[in-house]
Symmetry: C2
Subunit: 250 residues, 2 copies
């Protein structure tokens, strides 16, 4: 493997460059990119120019660097999440048409919940999650669904670490969280009024594939009021519809 004098591979430097971008900073100047990656400016500039040549990065009108359309295309057309998204989308649209608030699909990634699809509308309630963004497992309804149905080692690991409290309703006590996970497995729904944001209720149900394996969580975010509970059956029914389309037995 080709390596710099510091022993770091060229690929790992390219990875660091891509890791520097996020939803809040989709465009970065070369010197700022060097600062964020910890790479020398000359190295950053050379790597950026090569990646621009492949269409993996691009330089915008303000000479800032952005993710290129070519890498989006390469990754999206063979996307690890594409099959699941395409199967789920018609069901998500139906639910969105009925409840008129955010409808989201999320998967487990690196002990966090990763949002892989989202339908929103103007006037929907505040939503702290983002497309291709992450949230902690214990504080969001889809995260709790994925944790409740996830590997035991993951549950043990989450239950033995200090958990961030976002609102007074966030479940952070290990004993209470363990009981809540059991309830989510038993009822097939995670109902989280004000767990992450005091003004909203997050509701999620498991999406299953063959042999009942949970591969995703379908979630919605509605106002934190008395009507929220009435949304749960629609979320559950829709998650079952997606599961059946994915080949789940029940």
């Amino acid at each position: 493997m080709a390596r710099s004098p510091s022993g770091e591979s060229v690929l790992s430097r390219a990875v660091r460059i891509f890791e520097a971008f996020d939803a809040d900073t989709p465009a970065i100047g070369v010197s700022e990119l060097a600062r964020r990656t910890g790479l020398p400016i000359a190295t950053t500039s050379r790597l950026v120019n090569e990646l621009i040549g492949y269409g993996w990065l691009r330089r915008d009108a303000d000479r800032r660097i952005r993710i290129g359309v070519r890498i989006w295309e390469l990754v999206s057309r063979a996307s690890p999440t594409l099959g699941l998204r395409e199967m789920a989308m018609p069901f998500m649209q139906d639910l969105h048409a009925v409840i008129g608030n955010h409808v989201q699909l999320a998967v487990l990634q690196d002990s966090e919940v990763l949002y892989i699809e989202r339908l929103s509308a103007p006037g929907s309630v505040r939503n702290l999650s983002r497309y291709a963004g992450r949230l902690p497992l214990h504080a969001s309804a889809p995260g709790l669904v994925l944790l409740a149905n996830g590997p035991l080692e993951l549950q043990d690991s989450i239950l033995t670490r200090p958990l961030d409290r976002f609102t007074p309703n966030t479940v952070t006590d290990p004993k209470a969280l363990r009981a809540f996970l059991g309830e989510i497995r038993r009822t097939g729904i995670a109902f989280c009024p004000g767990h992450l944001d005091a003004t909203t209720t997050s509701i999620a149900a498991p999406v299953r594939t063959v042999r009942g394996l949970v591969v995703a969580a379908l979630a919605t975010i509605v106002p934190n009021d008395d009507a929220a509970r009435s949304i749960a059956p629609a979320v559950q029914a829709t998650a079952r519809g997606i599961s059946r389309a994915l080949g789940a037995d029940r």
Copy 2:
């Protein structure tokens, strides 16, 4: 830049590995990957293992290589197309609810039309385009919209090369195509009955941003019958709604 004895950079080899995947082959064994990229098996295997370490590739249960969730996440959260897609999606959902057939958003990329978003439903007509897939500009309604409003050099380049004929209706004659592009600019709509597939009609309208710049095309695919023409005003009105949300003056 670190280079192999052949003078090719490590990055360009990684790029070739990613280029080997597409919608039809989202999973590839290492020897097949070596064959497709033209790289030695040992080199392929070493690069693949390093990329798996970064989460940019992954090895599935059958030991085949797939695109990793981490690179999807990195590219999607700062996606070059995300702002456009998020702005357009509510309008696309409205149009989809009304016409019940494919609704798509496409941009110009490397002299082809690249589909960046798509809503479909079970029972929709056959659709030769794919999410993150491409089609030739001259044979699809969104491609013709983008070509008609694209750079003159691009039009000249397309009009002087031999163009594939997909059906008897595909416009391949340079003079006829030039006239058709003028009509599309004048009317603000591309209406293409059976141009790519004899059984379907593709209809598209331009999506504009500030100063009237065309940044995308909104398209639908409906059955190739007498009712198709009646869909055009809805496509135009929806494209104008997206344009207004993007800050276009008209």
